[in-house]
Symmetry: C2
Amino acid sequence: MWRTFHRMRNQLALALGQSLQQDSGISESDFEVLAALADAPDQTMRARALRTELQWEKSRLAHQIRRMEQRGLVAREVCVDDGRAPLVRLTATGRDTIRSAAPAHAARVRELFLDALSPDQLDALHQANAVVLARLHQNCPAETP
Amino acid sequence: MWRTFHRMRNQLALALGQSLQQDSGISESDFEVLAALADAPDQTMRARALRTELQWEKSRLAHQIRRMEQRGLVAREVCVDDGRAPLVRLTATGRDTIRSAAPAHAARVRELFLDALSPDQLDALHQANAVVLARLHQNCPAETP
DNA sequence: TCCCAAAGGTTGATGCGTCAACCAGTGTAC
DNA sequence: GTACACTGGTTGACGCATCAACCTTTGGGA
């Protein structure tokens, strides 16, 4: 059971990642960052806010932002209020990329995952997510400091 | 919903990986390979068999085996029947490692995942796994050639 | 027999993710 | 106002995963 779950998720992530890469030239991680920034006012967020939003580790975000900056998807700017907290802003290229990528990706998630499941199954899965996440939290209280 | 699922699985994998690393000094990938070999007759398998068992890509397995060989967990031997198909064998170190790692890992999976879910939820999840995997197969028939 | 395609693996490059170590502003106690 | 801890990020090293290119053996034909 655990094995099957593990495998299902991996294959699913692989298929989604491949589609995203072929259709839009970005990875799932890129997509998550772009989506978060696109929803933010001014398409700009503090790195800290991005991290809590995505629940990522700080070094992971730093590496990701560096790579995305090299490709011109985002830009870093210093923040006048707090010198140690750089701002991350979506560039025009980044905006275009997420706009063109989002519909196809959402459709693919529906096709491979959401539409495959009945409403009851979705509901059960949703509750299962919550329970497991809760257990993870209580088990490791300092998860994303 | 999709996001929650995505996040749940990632956090779960992270927690399991950390436990495994701390308790036994191996990764989840190491564990999967060791477990498959331990169940095989003579603790030996063809790389091809290992690949279909784990549903891994061939280069992934090659890299993994190379790393594990360097650490002394497995050994590669040439097969007399077919010169292009090396055999992978569990070493004594590998056997000890998996024997000491397996109980703790299984307990952790139970603790964080299986025991968190009701029988109904487990059942729903099990069916969901099957449905999604089936959809992935039909969508991408040449998945692991 | 010889050539060639298919099967089975390996290698190198690159991106992703974690950990540990480090650095730079911020703010607070004294 | 100076020392010091805290917060927030960066960097380097390493393992993991994928892709594309390559190499070797095998097994058939012509």
